[in-house]
Symmetry: C2
Subunit: 344 residues, 2 copies
């Protein structure tokens, strides 16, 4: 065990709360010695971290669905890693695990925090980063948001923004399995081609290169029954003009608004909800935690038989976290964005 304690844990901490897009000044790079777990505890070596739009919200002060990251705290992040020391019978050295590891090379999880960290063993044969994507929080968000909140029926039209992103790829593929017409909205022709050709979406609208309203009109001739919204802003307003009677809009995120220095742009067309007796409803994935195992088992089956795909965009190196995170906000990531911190 002495080999472990000779190691250094590089960490990235929140130095200050950003105004607009986070800059390098908002982060602090620290080092700590790696320490052994106490009774019941586990030490995990981080392999991949999940970079998520929600992180931007965690950097803000104030009430949200989860407490903000405190100033000087290690930045919160989910990840996958390998157990390098364990005093807990549920985890053996060498096990691959997923859970809250935070933006650091090693995560010491005392027994009392194990439940909160959500740490669980994963099957590495399905791909490590897959556990941050369709088998991870984004996949669970897409799965339960679409099915429980959106309640799509065969033959209905489902539109999803951020279609090539982590949540969007799950939403679209699950909606196709349910017999829906699926139209994505993504940034750039390459992403649009991928969701249509590889994931089997019926169409995809390039919001960077085209007119979203015209695209929705062309590709949703019977209107939009379910809209899974990851972006907010003008795209949400465009969708609201084409929803059907009784439509369901799942509010999962609003990445277009997270770095605003002006107030959030509320949906000016929200009265379409009235005209169409439609609803707009928020989802927070944690509410479905007791059903994750069942959803993971189902999606793992689809992955194994090749009918579900999972694409990740992996950036190398813990030190590149600040810039990597920004890829989410300018839409540069192609697939679920992950940061590789170590290779086994």
């Amino acid at each position: 065990m002495n080999a472990l304690t000779a190691l250094t844990n590089h960490q990235i901490r929140l130095a200050s709360r950003p105004v607009g897009l986070p800059t390098r000044d908002n982060w602090k790079f620290t080092t700590e010695p790696v320490t052994e777990p106490g009774p019941g505890g586990v030490l995990v070596k981080t392999l991949y971290l999940s970079l998520d739009p929600a992180m931007r919200g965690w950097m803000n002060e104030g009430k949200s669905y989860i407490a903000p990251v405190e100033i000087d705290a290690v930045m919160r992040a989910g990840g996958v890693g390998r157990v390098v020391a364990s005093q807990n019978p549920a985890f053996a050295v060498g096990d691959h695990v997923s859970g809250g590891l935070d933006v650091q090379e090693y995560c010491l999880i005392p027994e009392a925090q194990l439940k909160r960290s959500g740490l669980f063993k994963i099957d590495p044969s399905l791909g490590l980063t897959t556990w941050l994507n369709v088998l991870g929080m984004p996949g669970m968000t897409g799965y339960f948001g679409l099915l429980d909140v959106g309640q799509p029926k065969a033959g209905e039209t489902v539109v999803v923004s951020g279609a090539a992103g982590a949540v969007g790829q799950t939403v679209g593929q699950i909606a196709k399995r349910k017999g829906c017409r699926v139209v994505g909205i993504a940034g750039g022709q390459a992403k649009c081609d991928w969701v249509v050709n590889e994931l089997g979406f019926d169409a995809c609208i390039d919001y960077k290169g085209g007119d979203v309203k015209a695209g929705l009109k062309a590709h949703c001739p019977n209107g939009i029954d379910v809209y899974f919204d990851n972006v907010g802003g003008e795209i949400l307003d465009a969708v609201l003009t084409r929803i059907t009677r009784g439509a369901r809009i799942i509010i999962c995120g609003a990445i277009s608004q997270y770095n605003n220095t002006t107030p959030v742009k509320g949906p000016a067309n929200y009265l379409s909800l009235l005209m169409n007796r439609a609803r707009m409803e928020g989802i927070v994935v944690f509410d479905y935690a007791d059903r994750y195992p069942q959803a993971i088992a189902e999606m793992a089956g689809y992955l194994k038989d090749g009918t579900l795909k999972s694409r990740e965009d992996v950036v190398q190196g813990l030190e590149n976290f600040p810039e990597a995170l920004l890829k989410l906000f300018n839409g540069e990531n192609f697939g679920k964005l992950a940061l590789q911190v170590a290779s086994e």
Copy 2:
């Protein structure tokens, strides 16, 4: 029958589509001879007309939940009247009726349009204007919007804007019957006092005289579980900051936005729906038409035993329609606004 055909029918027609608040120039005053009903038809003398915020929307061009009023058409309005000629066995001369009568002194309803007009016999002993209020479309809107869309449970906090208006008074009184804490929002102390002292609301916030956010904080210590929105705008945004997890917001109207010459102000705080796993859902009363009789019977019972109150604000004279309508938009009406066109 010759006596009837000697009569003149004064009408108010839409002359042009308003920009912002309607002005007298948007209306045209016409006269027509009164004509006898054909086989199966009915002629109704208008006694009271219902003046509703929704009328402003009907004056606009473009798709809504109901077709716009065409230029030169008699302005659409619901009303109560008395049958003065009938060739239909379902209606006898002297019957009091309610339905689509439009802004005119006499309404000739051919058999083919009877269903569309929604004409039905009413019990005048409950009060004629009551049939435009808690027993009419506003009452039905409040009843089904609150119960079916809002699904309030005993002990929950229900907030309703436009609390002293037609829909608001029904919503608040029904919510009290369901065992909820009920907080109104209304314009002016007199209205606030009335909903608290006469209708039994737990509290009422005067949006003209006070700080709505502070009022909601003071009067909704456990947050807001159900919000019945008649107004939109800043009040909707204030409510969104205080909703509970799983809250339901019923979008019934947005009177603060109907006369905008700038785009509708969307709810900037709509991401509170996400944080709180809450939903915002539109209601259009017509969807509940097959259940009106049951709701009317229930509410008529409450009116008879004195546990439900209905307050109308009656303006006299068809010719005063243009100005009377404006009372809705500056909040001058105290109770459901109606226009008396004739007295029996």
